[in-house]
């Protein structure tokens, strides 16, 4: 573990990508299995599980430290793991630490209460940088300025092969990558991943530029589809089983056993995961209830069954159609769709349009679906399926955000660089008894200059203080933009906003003229 912590620090503080890769290569050459494989997974972000919950870190430190001193420290440092690593009250580093692999397997073996004691015991015997490494590793929050791609390039350079060779292998292998290292060191053949249910990197869209790109789009050259407000997924299946991946390659099969059970094909498909409510497609809020559950109950699965709207196909049996143009892949996809369970899978419709004006109308239509449809996807008919975000192939055109004028109610200091400013804002709308009801919080959408102005305004309009929360006079109006809203029992106002941000500060607008809660209700039910 000590060597791993040092590796992280060395990479973290080194500026050049090249030098980082050299440091990693040296570590891999010097470190035995399985430690190096776990280190590789930690850096590349392929660990499949948290060793402990982020909250546990917080619990442990609050048991050991004055609450206010912790709050001040956290405000200053701006990051939980680092704050805990530095402020941890026991400072008696042990001569040796357990190996990285031993730590990982111990955490996996232990029950909930044992984990707590074990984590505290480890933190006691570490130096601050080692504590930081452990806390980051344990909650999979390592950001040390080295991308997964750079990790793979390091491996490719060590082996003397091209990057795509490693990339193809990568998703078929799992930490601690012992077969991979055996091959790299010439002790074994290249690992066989042909039967593995692997994640294939997905193709992503660019936001469309309405001024320069929209005019070139027509029904001749492009197709349009609804952009559903679910999550992007990939299903990889063969006779040995099926796996459901998120857009980033996380395996989320365990949350959707109802869907996995309905898979009876040998293919890789790309689509949007949603849930059905009373037989119709549900909103993101409904899906959220499933996403949060690691092991969903039968009742929940019956109430909110998983459903996939399929847009593309990456493999059908032995056949890899990725190099074909979109229209030809569509033929393959249509043939595939004729065999699937229709309750669980539906084909994404091609919307009828000829000109960009038709698209504009479709986008308006999307805006009137509440938050069911986020906008449009526009795809070049000739586009092959290319991983990453290739230019000019796929576009997304989100509908305009919803806007409301809300009144600033509370402010809170930010973290890190912003810790000296009031930069987190809670705002509300007028309720039925002319009181303000908080509807959301935003931390961005303004310039640095505006941040300073807001900070000054808040200092001059302070009311009561509740811990870190500063109440202010109800006088300043924000135009708030957001992508959607859901009814929510947890909020006093009865609503939760999706992705709220400040779109304008209305210095000119009297607070009485801000919107009322009914305006939000109208947007939601639209």
């Amino acid at each position: 573990m000590r060597r791993f912590a040092q590796l992280l620090d060395d990479i973290y503080f080194t500026n050049s990508t090249r030098a980082k890769e050299k440091i990693l290569a040296t570590y891999l050459a010097e470190t035995p299995d399985p430690d190096r494989g776990w280190a590789l997974a930690a850096i590349a972000g392929t660990l499949k599980f948290d060793l402990f919950k982020r909250n546990l870190t917080k619990t442990l430190i609050t048991e050991r430290m004055d609450e206010e001193l912790f709050a001040l420290s956290y405000d200053y440092v701006g990051e939980l793991s680092e704050t805990v690593a530095l402020a941890w009250p026991v400072n008696t580093p042990a001569d040796t630490l357990p190996a990285l692999s031993e730590i990982i397997s111990s955490f996996q073996r232990k029950g909930k209460t044992e984990i707590q004691a074990y984590l505290a015991e480890l933190l006691d015997m570490m130096t601050p940088p080692e504590r930081w490494a452990l806390l980051k590793l344990g909650t999979r929050g390592l950001r040390i300025g080295m991308s997964a791609r750079s990790v793979k390039r390091t491996l490719a350079n060590v082996k003397g092969v091209d990057l795509p060779v490693i990339e193809e292998l990568w998703h078929g292998l799992e930490p601690p990558y012992e077969t991979l290292f055996a091959w790299i060191e010439g002790r074994a053949e290249m690992p066989d991943i042909s039967q593995a249910l692997v994640f294939s990197p997905v193709m992503l869209a660019h936001p469309i530029d309405e001024d320069s790109e929209l005019a070139r789009i027509s029904g001749e050259t492009h197709v349009a589809e609804w952009k559903w407000d679910g999550i992007r997924i990939q299903i990889s299946a063969n006779s040995s089983g099926a796996r459901l991946f998120s857009r980033t390659g996380d395996d989320i099969s365990h949350s959707f056993p109802d869907l996995i059970e309905a898979v009876d094909f040998d293919a890789v498909i790309d689509g949007e995961l949603l849930v059905k409510v009373d037989g119709a497609i549900g909103a993101f809020n409904d899906l959220q209830q499933r996403l949060n559950k690691k092991k969903p109950s039968k009742a929940l699965m019956a109430e909110l069954p998983a459903h996939v709207i399929v847009y593309d196909i990456l493999r059908l049996g032995e056949n890899d159609p990725r190099a074909l143009p979109l229209t030809e892949r569509r033929d393959v996809l249509q043939a595939f769709m004729s065999d699937v369970v229709l309750e669980r899978f539906s084909l994404s419709d091609f919307l009828e349009f000829e000109t960009s004006d038709d698209l504009r109308a479709l986008r308006e239509q999307a805006a009137s679906t509440g938050s069911l449809i986020e906008g449009l996807m526009i795809k070049d008919k000739s586009s092959p399926y290319v991983a990453g975000r290739p230019k000019h192939h796929w576009y997304k055109w989100k509908r305009d955000p919803m806007l409301l004028d809300a009144v600033l109610m509370y402010a809170q200091r930010g973290h890190g660089k912003r810790s000296s400013y009031f930069s987190d804002y809670t705002f509300g709308l007028w309720g039925p008894e002319d009181q303000l009801l908080p509807i959301g919080k935003a931390y961005f959408g303004f310039t640095d200059e505006e941040l300073k102005q807001l900070d000054r305004w808040i200092r001059a309009h302070k009311l009561q203080r509740f811990g870190p929360v500063q109440e202010v006079e109800k006088e300043l109006v924000f135009e708030v933009a957001f992508d959607g809203a859901q009814e929510s029992k947890r909020h006093k106002s009865g609503y939760a906003l999706r992705f709220p941000r400040i779109s304008r500060i209305r210095w000119d607008k009297p607070a009485e003229e801000a919107d009322r809660i009914e305006a939000l209700a109208a947007l939601v039910s639209a």
Binding site: Y12, F13, D66, L69, S73, Y76, V77, E79, L86, A87
Partner: protein, 333 residues
């Protein structure tokens, strides 16, 4: 005592402590620029501090200097006795002790408790009121022994013998402390310094410190610069990333400061090696010192005042923040 726009003012003594604007009578605790400004009338300070001020400003800047050796008492106003006690911050740094009408106030200036061979160690002076700094007053600040950090540096010099290790240090105090610590660790190579560090290092030598062989980088001929591979060069923090450093062979930026405990600060400086070396007291030492002085009242001048105030109150000490302006914590030296 009063907080005035010029700085902290002691009414019965009719003198300011570390004023940041010119005043008639000043007590200057140490030579750092944010404490020792030029242009005062009478200046009470240690002889070393006066020498530092003379080196930094013109001779005339301290024409009214009254040199006070540590523990030497002077009646600076009717019934008010002033004497200076070592603060362990930098060469000549002092705490100002004012005795008046049977009670005492100690203004510690900047201070530290960690070992530092370039100056006399901090001395605890029992007092009624203790005025303290709070530069590193958060539980996240624990300064390791300097030997540990020097070890880190020398390990890097050994592993990367092609890189010129360029260390950003403050010209007064940090630079000389680091040079001595390297010598104590057995490092015998010539040390190289940026021109901005020369005058004060020479002053330290005149005052009896021996740094072994050192040379100014500018004295090397163009062709000799490559000899700096694997060597240690000291420069002001601002020179780490500017044009000057590009003349060096593969420089590896190192920053030596108490702030280097915080990762974001290291990244801000684009330092690739962080040495946690501070000339200020860390969290535990700030609290320990306040308690050891036996003061019933502690006034906090600058830094992270809220945390220290909170922690001292928990220990039954009346603590309050003075909100002195003119001390920018980021530049605190």
């Amino acid at each position: 005592m009063e907080v005035r726009p010029e700085g902290l003012y002691c009414v019965p003594a009719d003198a300011f402590v570390d004023p940041h604007r010119p005043v008639a009578r000043a007590i200057v605790t140490h030579g750092h620029a944010d404490h020792a400004r030029s242009g005062h009338g009478t200046v009470f300070a240690t002889p070393e501090t006066l020498s530092i001020m003379r080196t930094r400003y013109a001779e005339a800047a301290v024409a009214g200097g009254v040199a006070l050796a540590y523990h030497q008492k002077v009646e600076i106003a009717d019934g008010v006795t002033l004497w200076l006690a070592p603060a362990g911050h930098i060469l000549g740094s002092a705490q100002a002790v004012l005795d008046y009408g049977g009670s005492r106030i100690v203004i510690s200036g900047d201070y530290k408790r960690h070992s530092d061979p370039t100056c006399t160690p901090f001395e605890v002076v029992p007092t009624d009121v203790f005025v303290t700094e709070a530069t590193f007053a958060l539980p996240v600040f624990t300064h390791p022994p300097i030997a540990h950090e020097i070890d880190k540096l020398l390990r890097s010099v050994r592993t990367l013998p092609d890189r010129c290790h360029l260390i950003g240090v403050y010209a007064l105090g940090k630079c000389q402390r680091l040079m001595l610590a390297l010598r104590e660790a057995g490092y015998e190579e010539t040390l190289y310094v940026h021109g901005a560090l020369v005058k004060l290092t020479q002053l330290y030598e005149e005052l009896g410190h021996d740094f072994g062989r050192w040379e100014q980088v500018a004295d090397l001929a163009q062709g000799e610069r490559d000899a700096l591979r694997g060597k240690i060069v000291l420069c002001p923090p601002s020179a780490l990333a500017d044009r000057w450093s590009r003349r060096l062979p593969e420089p590896l930026p190192v920053m030596a400061s108490g702030w280097m405990q915080i990762r974001a600060r290291v990244r801000q400086r684009r330092a690739e090696l962080a040495l946690i070396v501070s000339d200020h007291a860390d969290w535990n030492d700030l609290i320990r010192t306040a308690v050891e002085t036996g003061a019933s009242d502690v006034w906090i001048t600058h830094g992270r005042v809220e945390a220290l105030e909170h922690a001292l109150k928990q220990r039954g000490i009346r603590a309050k923040a003075l909100n002195l302006i003119g001390r920018d914590e980021e530049d605190a030296q």
